[in-house]
């Protein structure tokens, strides 16, 4: 009975087994790359790591609705799950982490986690948070002005909603009914500051103030996120305007490799959330639905390990950029 119910969940969303396995691989690859990055950091090989761990369901569930290279995405620095879903690889991530010449995001110019790809319409993120939202709204306006049905996915954490830029963007998007989706991954912490000191009321309720719908979703349930995002994308493509999605999730690591989260949160709390790990949950679903068995699970795990190993080796052996190249790309050439 339980099995039939779970089967109905993904079928009702129009997802087949291949979709499910693809989503699972994206989530697992994001996680395993992230874990590898921490190891390289602790080995002294990588200066800085910022993590996606715990947020893979929110990211992959939403990004699975994007049309790569057509829709636009403004990821924030935890969104490895999003860019992997769009087609970035483990190698891309590790080249960026180790700041090699071949880093496709910036050629070693920007910190890891600040993804950029012209080809995939991934716009480079800013380190000060929240400033991507007005830009995303501008891109959505460009789609609308051109009469195209592109959608812009703009992402950030709950703390980014404290910034004025977020409100300015929400207002602008509401005024012009723009095809933009604000995906807020509420992971409870902004470095050390917890949600109760960050957010007055509920984030999701704020959408009403700007005249468009807000939806709260269990951010650790990839199918639930996929479902609400799908509705938001369809709404945007029909020209009906923006949607705010608040995905409730949890940051499983410290903010970055530069802080120690034992200073501000209890281990018990982290352990409680580890039980709700989105990858674990999706794996259980896939087992229940008969999409995954132990053998298949091991096979995928091995494939991903090999991919991450290969990427690590490749990136570690890749050359750094010529120091002179630091001067390139400040200005665009005259046309």
């Amino acid at each position: 009975m339980a099995i039939r119910e779970t089967q109905r969940r993904h079928e009702a969303l129009g997802l087949d087994e291949d979709d499910l396995l693809r989503m699972y691989r994206h989530m697992l690859l994001a996680r395993r790359v992230d874990e590898r990055m921490w190891i390289l950091n602790r080995q002294g090989k990588a200066a800085f790591v910022i993590s996606c761990q715990g947020q893979e369901a929110a990211q992959v569930g939403a990004a699975y609705n994007l049309r790569p290279g057509y829709d636009y995405v403004y990821p924030y620095y935890r969104d490895a799950g999003i860019v992997i879903t769009l087609g970035m690889t483990a190698r891309d991530q590790l080249l960026s982490l180790l700041a090699r010449a071949e880093d496709p995001n910036s050629g070693g110019r920007q910190m890891p986690g600040h993804f950029s790809s012209r080809e995939l319409n991934i716009v480079t993120a800013s380190a000060p948070i929240g400033v991507q939202y007005p830009q995303a709204v501008g891109s959505a306006m460009a789609f609308k002005m051109r009469g195209e049905d592109g959608v812009v996915l703009a992402c950030g954490g709950e703390a980014s909603t404290s910034e004025g830029d977020w409100h300015e963007a929400m207002n602008f998007a509401g005024i012009h009914d723009l095809p933009v989706i604000f995906l807020i991954q509420n992971n409870v912490y902004a470095i050390s500051v917890p949600e109760n000191l960050q957010v007055a009321g509920r984030i999701v309720d704020r959408a009403a103030g700007y005249g468009f719908p807000g939806v709260e979703v269990d951010g650790n349930d990839v199918l639930a996120v996929y479902k609400v995002a799908k509705e938001a994308f369809e709404r945007a493509r029909r020209g009906e305007g923006p949607t705010l999605i608040e995905a409730k999730t949890y940051r499983m690591t410290a903010h970055s490799s530069d802080d120690d989260d034992r200073r501000y949160r209890e281990r018990e709390e982290v352990e409680e959330w580890r039980k709700k790990d989105p990858i674990l949950r999706f794996k259980q679903y896939l087992h229940g639905a008969g999409v995954l068995d132990d053998a298949k699970e091991r096979e995928i795990e091995e494939e991903i390990r090999a991919e991450v190993d290969e990427a690590t080796e490749y990136a570690e052996n890749a050359p750094y950029a010529d120091p002179e190249s630091a001067m390139r790309y400040v200005y665009a050439e005259e046309e």
């Binding site: 636009y72 880093d103 496709p104 995001n105 910036s106 050629g107 110019r109 920007q110 600040h114 950029s116 790809s117 012209r118 716009v123 480079t124 800013s126 380190a127 000060p128 400033v131 939202y133 007005p134 830009q135 995303a136 709204v137 501008g138 891109s139 959505a140 306006m141 460009a142 789609f143 002005m145 812009v152 004025g164 830029d165 300015e168 963007a169 207002n171 602008f172 005024i175 390139r328 790309y329 400040v330 200005y331 665009a332 050439e333 005259e334 046309e335």
Partner: protein
């Protein structure tokens, strides 16, 4: 060539570019029905419609960010800051984003964006409407910064700005919107990084940009009455900066005074003085001097305000000083 105002030249440039290129659009506060608080965009809503002349909420960071997002997708937005003073609210978008997106994308993306509006003071609007922001924005690689003064340059540099694939900070001399000058018809571009010799002379070089160029020209007239021939250099563009024209002039005159409306310390004039001593040290017959605004927030009352800006008298006096002709 017809005589036109600074304001008309600006509008003409934008109009012609909007007619030429559909991707050019305008964004800002009160620029639509109202035609802009300085009437720069008067009538453009009727000509181009509300899709291309967009009245924004009062939201400087918001609409500047939106323009960046448009520019990254290939549109060519021209953003009006009601005054450059309000751009501090959008400074993160401008400095941390518009100026860096290309670099941080490893050259994948460009931001063909123009931000324009009145800069500097002189019209009794007190300190929060009176900043001269050329050294502030001129400091950041990734931005181009221009400050034209003649209506002809205003037109030519606005066209160049709109066609430039980089973010351009277009600093208008707000106090001069009504001033007149000859403006070439049709296609007229003025390249960045090329200064203009506004007046030729052989005794002393006066370096300025924006409104202070006119002040220097008047001071040069006064000096000429006493037989002193001042050369006036109009920098036109702050970044890139035309060092060569300044150096060439100083090699001829051996003396220089750099004039700016902004405060003395860390300003464009200090940069000019540094460049001259680096590149023309052996040609100098006197220290390079600066004439700058007083070190106070600009006050409102006309008499107090005038006290705080460089004056013709100051320029004449300092020019005499570097000629060792102090009276």
């Amino acid at each position: 060539m017809a005589e036109k105002t600074y304001r008309e030249a600006l509008k003409e440039a934008m109009t012609e570019e909007m007619e030429r290129d559909e991707s050019v659009l305008l964004l800002g506060e009160d620029i639509g029905v109202y035609g802009g608080t300085h009437l720069i965009t008067d009538g453009l809503l009727d000509m181009f419609g509300k899709k291309r002349v967009i009245d924004t909420p009062i939201s400087e960071a918001g609409f500047t960010g939106a323009a960046i997002g448009m520019a990254m997708m290939g549109l060519r937005p021209v953003v009006e800051m009601m005054t450059w003073n309000f751009s501090f609210i959008a400074a993160d978008q401008i400095i941390q984003n518009a100026a860096k997106v290309r670099y941080f994308s490893g050259g994948q993306v460009q931001v063909p964006l123009v931000i324009r509006g009145p800069n500097g003071g002189g019209v009794q609007l007190s300190a929060q409407h009176t900043h001269s922001l050329e050294s502030f924005y001129g400091h950041f690689p990734g931005l181009k910064v221009v400050a034209p003064v003649t209506p002809a340059d205003v037109k030519g540099m606005m066209i160049s700005s709109i066609r430039d694939p980089n973010p351009v900070i277009f600093l208008e001399a707000g106090a001069l919107y009504g001033t007149r000058g000859e403006v070439p018809e049709g296609e007229h571009t003025v390249p960045f990084g090329k200064a203009r010799v506004a007046r030729e002379g052989s005794d002393v070089t006066l370096v300025a940009y924006g409104r202070q160029v006119l002040l220097c020209e008047r001071a040069a007239e006064r000096l000429a009455e006493d037989g002193i021939e001042a050369e006036v250099i109009d920098l036109r563009s702050i970044r890139p900066l035309d060092e060569e024209t300044v150096i060439e002039s100083v090699r001829k005159t051996h003396r220089a005074v750099s004039v700016q409306e902004q405060w003395r310390y860390y300003g464009v004039s200090s940069e000019i003085a540094a460049i001259i001593q680096e590149k023309a040290f052996d040609y100098l017959d006197a220290p390079v001097e600066r004439v700058s605004g007083a070190e106070v927030p600009a006050p409102y009352a006309r008499n107090l305000e005038l006290m705080c800006f460089p004056s013709e008298e100051q320029v004449v006096e300092v020019a005499r000083r570097v000629l060792y002709q102090e009276v």
